[in-house]
Symmetry: C2
Subunit: 249 residues, 2 copies
DNA sequence: TCTGGTTATCGACTGGTCGTCGATAACTGA
DNA sequence: TCAGTTATCGACGACCAGTCGATAACCAGA
């Protein structure tokens, strides 16, 4: 790289419509839609019919429309694969623009993470299926990377946000909740600890109900719910806090 | 939204080059380049010459080239404003595609956070200048939002990663380091605490040297450096740890 | 050389949080 | 009534960070 020149740099964005036509580029959105089904984390995939990568499983998504926001677009595309009313959470992951990530044309992709709560069982089209994330078939393009990015985002956010709300039914017992966390985190989760952490952070509250015991007996479990149905960050995990002000009174 | 249809959804990505020409859309990259100068966080801005928003200050960036990766592109664009060899860190922030975020045409933007270490003073072109982030002029388009996203990302990552390495000169005293952190975090940072936290996380180590005292006297300060010159995440801040395995031996 | 001013460093205290584990509660079926 | 099962609670201990006072190491001027 040469040192910076002092001449006026070219204008990056004149309102010149011909600018875009020089490069046949396309913008697409892709969704990593995750759900815990039978204690196992699954991702929604559909099987491509056409080339390239015909027959391969791939993430739902498609081309950004001319007057569509990115978030709008991914919701529209997902609506073709799953009842989007079931989507409890949707957030942007990242964008990828490697020139050869899709053969034959230039496609920049913006990826999203979507979550479906565990009790829902939305209808999916015939070419679409839930796959356990730990036993995926070979995916089209760079979609395997994208799935990993989604899992990774979910794992971290379960730790420092209240994102659990998006995984579970409206009410649940602590054992059930721990199973959801286990499925996403990939390791054991102690029920006692989970209960104390989430309670201390004001994420969950008891509904007052208790569940009847099953056939095998056991103490009936208390029923909980998440307090807030939207994403909140647990500030306790930004270290390097501002100094504490002395409590008034 | 209607329930999901069971008919085959349209193929999202046929290798059809005409698909892109229907919508005159452009993809741009934007960079929030931050540096602590004289204990104050600054962002690199340049003044637009042409419409729209002629005369307004805006973020460096420009149109993605036909065979360019996103990261390549932002480096190329930034090279026109600042010596990119000085860039100590570069990471993607997000993408924005609101249909009217730029008047006159459709532009999807992918934004990046760039950091320049405090000791560097790279030459910048005549139309480009460092601005204190707390006293910004009115910015073009949605660039003010983007700057906020960059600051926010920097603040959080200072807490749970070793990103400090990208802010400071190769060696520094703890007082200096605390001043860099203060400038980014926007609040007081206790030197004792900072030293212990970073040492415990193995981020910093003493070089062995000490600095001579200044005119005003005072004990000479020990000189430190960051151990690793690339981003590492502090795992201590993912709560909900996997269970501890008993230490061997 | 002494003394006060200044800056840096260190150690100790404290409170909060979490991983762990044993004790207890509340149910089932035999 | 008792063994088996599941859920809940309480306590302990480790660890870590925010705070603060004590000490160290320098300067300048009297």
């Amino acid at each position: 790289m040469s040192p910076v020149s002092l001449t006026r740099p070219p204008e990056p964005g004149p309102p010149d419509v011909t600018h875009g036509t020089a490069q046949p580029s396309r913008h697409e959105v892709l969704g990593v839609v995750l759900q815990v089904r039978d204690d196992v984390l699954h991702v929604l995939l559909w099987r491509r019919a056409l080339a390239p990568h015909a027959g391969r499983w791939s993430l739902p998504g498609g081309t950004l429309g001319p007057v569509e926001d990115l978030r709008e677009s991914i919701r529209r595309q997902l609506a073709e694969k799953v009842d989007v009313r079931e989507l409890s959470h949707l957030e942007q992951l990242d964008s990828r623009g490697a020139p050869r990530r899709v053969p034959g044309e230039r496609v920049v992709a913006t990826t999203y993470l979507g979550l479906v709560p565990g009790h829902a069982d939305p209808h999916v089209p015939a070419d679409t299926r839930w796959h356990p994330v730990d036993a995926l078939p070979r995916l089209a393009f760079d979609h395997a990377d994208v799935v990993e990015a989604g899992r990774s985002r979910l794992r971290s956010k379960l730790s420092y946000t209240n994102l659990g709300f998006a995984l579970v039914p409206p009410t649940f017992t602590m054992s059930e909740l721990a199973r959801y966390y286990r499925a996403c985190l990939g390791h054991e989760v102690d029920v006692t600890n989970l209960q104390r952490i989430l309670a201390r952070r004001d994420q969950i509250e008891p509904t007052g109900e208790v569940l009847r015991s099953g056939r095998s007996g056991g103490r009936p479990a208390a029923v909980y719910r998440f307090r807030h149905p939207s994403l909140e960050v647990t500030d306790a995990f930004a270290v390097l806090h501002p100094p504490r002000v002395a409590a008034p009174g």
